[in-house]
């Protein structure tokens, strides 16, 4: 009954049939975590009870398994940069080792109201800075498909938890690919919604004009189910928009015949591994088989996207992480002589190498005399990237390509060269610069590495419905 690898949909159906109870389902996953987490290090905190911080939605009891909510009783893993009231949130950093969340993030409130139950908090690169989960202060997460390899990052713990069936689904956050890239590395589905779709209230900020929360799931349908619950305007996040929210599951089964699929020629340049290129091209022919028109397009400023990203994001990081100063919460050096000495010592002792590197890079880009050359220039290039996409979307419905240039590499392989690791984000960051929705779905294994390849689909702003429909139809065709 509690057979391996439940999707949200299959678990809901089983709960409705009373094949097992919510508690039994939770205990099954909890037990799997207890057994497997020492090998994977996917979870940093594991909750013992079905509802760690109490409150059930009003008027409902957990035993009521016929609730109409599609997430009722579904066990979920949460990336450890989102707050769950009364529990620890580390953001993968030593500086927050003992930090207790003072409130629920908006996405947590929404999941709670929908009846989802929290299994625990998942590992991540420190403050979500990285593409391999090797930058966590709590040790790297392993890829469940091959534990000598990285699970991707920064939502590597969430991706490993879903791929290893240590959760039915998970939440991650995506600033430059941190949902899509680990989903790609672990062979699951990762969705980054349009910037402004989902509230970030209660998400520990990295780069606020980029960060977006989204689901990591086993199927595209599950992704649509979770997005339905997550999105909407929030008075606590003034960047959320008041757009109408459609039912993202409604049109999944509609045909995609006649849609025009854009394939940017710039996505197939140097740096793309042959095994990924082969899988992506084969998958594009599948779309053709489904009746789509394939059109080669150009994103002329694609080559500048990563450089613009690595100016704009560190700049925002240097401002956002200024709050970690050892005064109000988090690690505080005991021996500071005065206030500024406490700042220096707490940050020096509490932060890891990658946050320090990015804070410094951002401080430099924003410093007097360099602002125009770096920060302002990057924001102008950002406008060019957005314009490239706007132009392309005049002729095409969605844009497709690889999620990452390589499949999951060995743990330690790129650890000493930050720039080499940054290049892994080359296909995902343009999407964040332009604020677009995008999804990564598995499209088979690379012929050499025998590891999953992720196929990225990018849509117009707030057109997640088309994005998910194309992804769902393609997923079915790839089965």
């Amino acid at each position: 009954m509690l057979e391996k690898n439940h999707t949200i949909k299959s678990a809901r159906e089983a709960l409705k049939r009373r094949d097992f109870s919510v508690e039994e389902l939770f205990n099954h996953y909890h037990q799997r975590i207890v057994e497997k987490n020492k090998d994977l290090n996917a979870y940093l905190t594991v909750f013992e009870n079905c509802l760690p911080t109490g409150d059930l939605p009003k008027g409902e009891k957990l035993k009521t398994e016929n609730s109409k909510s599609p997430l009722w009783g579904i066990p979920v893993a949460i990336k450890d940069n989102m707050l769950i009231e009364g529990t620890r949130t580390t953001a993968g950093s030593k500086i927050l080792e003992n930090y207790i969340s003072a409130y629920d993030a908006t996405v947590i409130k929404k999941l709670r109201s929908a009846g989802a139950v929290f299994l625990g908090k998942t590992n991540l690169d420190e403050f979500a800075m990285g593409s391999s989960t090797e930058n966590s202060a709590y040790g790297p997460t392993k890829n469940p498909l091959d534990t000598s390899r990285i699970p991707g990052g920064s939502s590597g713990g969430s991706a490993a938890a879903v791929a290893g069936d240590l959760a039915v689904f998970a939440l991650g956050s995506d600033t430059g690919g941190s949902i899509r890239q680990p989903a790609s590395m672990c062979g699951i589905v990762g969705l980054k919604p349009t910037y402004g779709r989902v509230s970030r209230h209660g998400l520990i900020a990295m780069a606020s004009s980029f960060d977006q929360i989204g689901p990591l799931t086993k199927t595209v349908e599950d992704s649509a189910i979770v997005l339905n619950v997550l999105c909407g305007h929030d008075i606590f996040d003034s960047t959320t928009v008041n757009n109408a929210v459609p039912d993202f599951t409604a049109a999944l089964n509609d045909s995609i015949k006649g849609l025009t699929i854009g394939v940017p020629k710039e996505f197939f340049g140097t740096g793309l591994s042959p095994e990924v290129e082969e899988r992506i091209k084969t998958t594009i022919t599948k779309l053709k088989d489904l009746g789509c028109k394939i059109k080669e397009i150009s994103l002329p400023n694609f080559e500048y996207a990563l450089a613009a990203y690595y100016v704009a994001v560190p700049s925002e990081i240097s401002a956002n992480l200024a709050r970690f100063d050892g005064v109000r919460y988090g690690y505080s050096a005991k021996d500071g002589e005065n206030l500024i000495d406490t700042y220096f010592k707490s940050r020096t002792e509490g932060l890891g190498a990658e946050p320090k590197r990015r804070i410094m890079l951002g401080a430099y880009a924003l410093s007097s005399g360099y602002y125009d050359a770096y920060y302002l220039k990057a924001q102008k290039v950002r406008a060019l990237i957005k314009k490239d996409f706007d132009e392309a979307f005049k002729d095409v419905d969605v844009i497709v390509g690889p999620t990452a240039p390589n499949t999951a590499f060995k743990i330690g392989e790129k650890a000493s060269d930050p720039l080499a690791l940054y290049l892994e984000d080359v296909y995902t960051v343009p999407v964040n610069l332009a604020g677009l929705p995008a999804i990564s779905i598995p499209c088979g294994l690379g012929t050499e590495s025998k590891m999953p390849v992720g196929f990225q689909i990018i849509a117009k702003p707030f057109d997640e419905a088309t994005l998910l429909r194309v992804a769902h139809q393609l997923e079915q065709a790839l089965k």
Binding site: A102, S238, T239, N338, F344
Partner: protein, 101 residues
């Protein structure tokens, strides 16, 4: 390549202390990243307005009245103020800014 002085200056701006080994590593890493970023200069942005965010939302304002979503109680106060390393009653205690003579 960034100089020692430049790296020390940036670290100071970032409120981070670095030792000699870290300085050498950061010099190398930051210089490599900055060299990569140089390619931005090839992009023609002469007639482009900078794009700081993508939603187009401007000035999300609200009426200046308390909304009461976070009513202060002992529990919330404990979680907010209680996590400060030094406290006095309901206040966060901060170290002195100037050294005593």
């Amino acid at each position: 390549m960034l100089s020692d002085t430049e790296v020390e200056y940036i670290a100071k701006l970032a409120r981070i202390t670095i030792n000699d080994a870290e300085k050498e590593k950061l010099k190398k890493d930051l210089s490599a990243i900055l060299d990569y970023i140089e390619k931005l200069n090839k992009a023609d942005t002469s007639s482009v307005e900078p794009l700081y965010q993508t939603t187009g939302l401007v000035n999300a304002t609200r009426i200046d009245e308390p909304r009461g979503e976070f009513p202060m109680n002992d529990k919330l106060e404990g979680l907010l103020i209680g996590q400060a390393p030094a406290r006095k009653e309901r206040f966060v205690k901060v170290k002195s800014i100037l050294n005593k003579k």
